[in-house]
């Protein structure tokens, strides 16, 4: 379980990691915003403001990615993180596989 950065181009790799994390937070915020909007507790004005702010953030992120040419680096980090998350869930749901894995490593 690891996230690999491109050593050949550390600047892109690092920026990719940061942008990937911001992107994950942004997607989470979007989902939670949707939940709040659907709950009906926000006023129309607040919903509009929230939507505008989130779409601005999305645009800004897309711009940073295209300006620095790090779309691929971000994609790579996100895939790695997704795999790591999948791995973690798998271990939670199926603790037996954990044992098997550590035994495999020992032998």
């Amino acid at each position: 379980m690891s996230v690999n950065l491109d050593e050949g181009n550390l600047k892109d790799g690092l920026l990719g990691l940061v942008v990937a994390l911001v992107e994950i937070i942004q997607e989470l915020l979007e989902r939670q915003a949707l939940r709040r909007m659907e709950s009906g507790s926000l006023s129309d004005c607040e919903i509009e403001r929230l939507g505008e702010a989130l779409s601005e953030l999305t645009e800004a992120l897309a711009k940073i990615k295209s300006d620095n040419n790090i779309e691929d680096a971000v994609q790579l980090v996100r895939t790695d993180l997704d795999l790591a998350a999948e791995d973690l869930i798998d271990k939670f749901l199926n603790p037996a596989s954990w044992n098997e894995e550590s035994q495999k490593e020992e032998s």
Partner: protein
């Protein structure tokens, strides 16, 4: 690349926030079997909607929304004036002791060009569209794209990342202004 793809990690975190998680911990630090210091920790993480469902942070949610609403400012427009285009940008401040780029939102309305700062709600620069000329100037910084606004009272240097779109919007606004009162604006590049 498909931006709508399902991300496993986001899905997991979203579920965690929807359900909410609580961590309670009590710690006693003792020396020689005598408890000396006690610590009670409570940590909670959840989406705000879940928090409100459980009645947590309700007052805070309400008061912070009210605070924002009370502080919100609106660009004061003249009667019949409409905002045609807005973009983030800077104005060069050369007077006074400190020479710097002041950030704000550039608004092109049907009558004026305005640099607006949302908090505390202030117009930093405004000039009517009539008799306004725009010139491209070499940028002092590679990321900045600079323009010079020339108007009867003087000139100002401004900077925008979306320079082309700004120029286009300005030219369009000027055309409709010129059509209205037959004054002219020239965009040179």
């Amino acid at each position: 690349m498909n931006p709508e793809r399902e991300s496993c990690l986001v899905e997991v975190l979203d579920r965690l926030l929807n359900k909410g998680a609580v961590l309670n911990a009590d710690i006693i630090i003792s020396v020689a079997g005598i408890p000396l210091i006690g610590v009670t920790l409570k940590a909670m993480i959840a989406g705000m909607e879940t928090m409100l469902e459980y009645g947590i942070m309700e007052d805070w949610d309400k008061s912070s929304r009210e605070l924002y609403a009370s502080q919100e400012t609106h660009l004061p427009l003249l009667p019949g004036e409409q905002i045609l285009y807005k973009t983030f940008g800077y104005l060069r401040e050369d007077e006074g002791l400190i020479k710097c780029w002041v950030p704000g939102v550039w608004n092109i309305t049907s009558q004026r060009v305005i640099l607006w700062v949302k908090t505390p709600g202030k117009i930093l620069f405004e000039t009517p569209l009539e008799n306004l000329r725009v010139m491209r100037v070499p940028a002092s910084h590679e990321v900045r794209k600079e323009l010079e606004l020339i108007y009867p009272q003087g000139s100002s240097r401004i900077s925008l990342t979306e320079r082309n779109e700004f120029e286009q919007a300005l030219a369009e606004a000027a055309r409709s202004t010129a059509a209205r009162n037959e004054s002219e604006l020239v965009v040179t590049g």
